[in-house]
């Protein structure tokens, strides 16, 4: 087998040195009834050719986003990733490296993590960022737990317009740990009054900006209201490119910022792996979950980087750790940081403006169609439309016409009847005039 270097003569020589008659002798501790003599019921080995054929056929059954006019968002976004990124992350020294616990031979990884942390802090307008979480939703859950540790209170007040998967993750963690949630109800036009729900029991307020439907808001008043009740403001985002054009949460009074970094450097990958961004104010750094990379010097006085503040983590603190996270999203961070380095200040701002311009163009074209209403007065690159048709049928029929039109809002809020005519539509830099025309014309046909 091509991945196994040992030959039969090797095995015999090794058994001889060990003093074992056969490999079975090395498995003597396995209870007799659990020993399997034969192979399990699965296909036997295959060469590259067969494996490519089999899995290629499976892949061919899926419609890649790049092959049709594509407008699906809802927490993951199709962007163009420069060729340099994918090439670099496949370098052996990045792809097949271990966690950088031996810093002397891991400076490549450690330096890019330090750069990543700095980039995330800059984008979010916060003091410090960690070396990533699994994704935006789990980062959000961890942020709520962190807020409870800091405030010693137990109730999280969530915006009703927070991505339902993020809310579900927070609810899941809170149920098991015995914390309380006030989940809120979805408000589609950005006029949600969350301040009225903040009280003395509140540990943290979680707001997504832009929210699930697309609305962009000034969160300063919410920050002030939370702080007045000794609660923390946690701001979440699902589209990191928005930070190139929208006021960052750090400038609006956020205490902790979490979000999804997938849009930069990382493919859609049907939901994972993604990269969770996590940033906070300096004073909360020791309560942060996840790995942290810090600057130091070596024995020759040269600048270098190491994982630090490790005593917060599971491998040292065990049951008193700030989180149980171990493996995070290393290679996805690298893809993020390389892409952002290519974009730079000029490119990142421009990318954000192109995204917004494309969304505005599309929104205006759709708004002009009979029966179509844009329900989000503000948005970045994703807005929500209401039509006279049921959204499930609309998306289905649009797909049959070759347009992947967006996310059916009621898929994420089942049982809320007043949302079942809504579709969240995303438009990034990948959309062309032809795509927009195809969308508008297909939508017109479907609604007639």
């Amino acid at each position: 087998m091509r991945y196994l270097p040992l030959t039969e003569p090797d095995r015999q020589a090794m058994l001889a040195r060990i003093g074992a008659g056969s490999i079975d002798d090395l498995f003597i501790d396995v209870p007799e009834e659990a020993r399997r003599e034969g192979l399990v019921d699965l296909p036997t080995r295959q060469g590259e050719l067969e494996v490519e054929r089999l899995l290629g056929a499976m892949a061919a059954k899926n419609t890649p986003a790049g092959s049709v006019p594509f407008f699906v968002g809802g927490g993951a976004y199709k962007h163009h990733v420069p060729a340099t990124v994918d090439h670099l992350i496949q370098r052996s020294e990045f792809l097949t490296a271990y966690t950088p616990y031996q810093p002397e031979i891991s400076q490549g990884t450690l330096q890019y993590l330090f750069e990543f942390q700095t980039q995330v802090a800059m984008l979010t307008g916060m003091d410090v960022a960690n070396a990533s979480m699994y994704d935006g939703s789990t980062a959000c859950g961890e942020a709520v737990l962190m807020a409870h540790r800091i405030t010693r209170k137990k109730k999280a007040v969530l915006s009703g317009s927070l991505h339902p998967h993020y809310r579900a993750v927070v609810e899941n963690l809170s149920d098991f740990a015995g914390y309380e949630i006030d989940p809120g109800a979805p408000v589609i036009d950005g006029t949600e009054d969350i301040i009225a729900r903040i009280d003395d029991e509140t540990s943290c307020v979680v707001v997504q900006n832009p929210d699930f439907f697309g609305n962009v808001r000034d969160l300063r008043a919410i920050a002030d209201a939370a702080h007045a009740k000794k609660a923390l403001l946690i701001v979440a985002f699902t589209e990191v490119v928005s930070l190139g054009l929208v006021t960052p949460p750090g400038e609006m009074g956020a205490d902790i910022v979490v979000g999804e970094g997938q849009s930069i450097g990382n493919a859609l990958n049907f939901g994972g792996p993604y990269v969770g961004l996590f940033a906070a104010k300096q004073k909360y750094v020791r309560q942060m979950p996840g790995r942290l990379c810090g600057e130091t010097v070596d024995a020759e006085g040269k600048r270098g980087f190491v994982l630090t503040l490790s005593t917060r983590e599971q491998h040292i603190r065990r049951e008193k750790a700030t989180s149980n996270i171990c493996t995070n999203s290393g290679l996805c961070c690298l893809a993020f940081t390389i892409h952002l380095s290519l974009l730079g200040e000029e490119g990142f701002g421009r990318l954000a403006r192109i995204n917004h311009a494309n969304a505005v163009k599309l929104a205006d074209q759709l708004d002009a169609l009979d029966g179509v209403e844009i329900v989000t007065p503000t948005f970045f690159n994703e807005f929500t439309i209401r039509t006279p048709k049921n959204a499930r049928d609309l998306i289905d029929e649009m797909a049959d016409k070759g347009v992947l039109a967006g996310v059916r809002v009621s898929r994420l809020w089942p049982g809320e009847d007043n949302l079942d005519d809504l579709v969240a539509v995303a438009s990034t830099e990948i959309n062309t005039d032809a795509d927009r025309a195809a969308f508008a014309s297909a939508l017109k046909e479907v609604l007639s």
Binding site: R286, S310, T311, I316, R317, K320
Partner: protein, 125 residues
């Protein structure tokens, strides 16, 4: 009159009147290595003997420090925030952790005096 007492968990207690200053011993700081951070309790907190009162962190380990006596925290050593190294440099002086108002002086009788503590640590190695 002030007296210094020691615990088997390597804490020292310096009693002056009804206030006790508490820290970890020189033996403890040697075992821990470079101290990087000390998490201290809030002033005003009531602790019972045996409660976790502080956490001392080195690069590779975090150790709980248990209250050797019952009482109320009346002062904490703010200097440790900026310079945790004081715990290594002068564990039984400038590296003190907290001052407590004693509620039960009889608890001191259960602790070791300096000679007994030195015998105890000699036996550990």
């Amino acid at each position: 009159m002030s007296t210094v007492k020691f615990t088997e968990d390597h804490e020292w207690v310096l009693v002056e009147g009804d206030v006790a200053t508490i820290g970890i011993t020189n033996y403890a700081q040697e075992q821990l290595g470079d101290v990087v951070f000390v998490e201290l309790p809030e002033v005003g907190r009531e602790v019972a003997k045996g409660d976790e009162a502080a956490v001392v962190e080195s690069v590779k380990a975090a150790s709980e420090v248990y209250a050797p006596i019952t009482g109320e925290i009346v002062e904490i050593n703010g200097a440790l925030d900026e310079t945790p190294a004081k715990v290594n440099e002068d564990a039984q002086g400038a590296g003190w952790f907290v001052k407590m108002k004693l509620s039960d002086t009889s608890e001191l009788e259960e602790l070791m005096d300096e000679a007994a503590y030195n015998t105890f640590t000699a036996g550990l190695d």
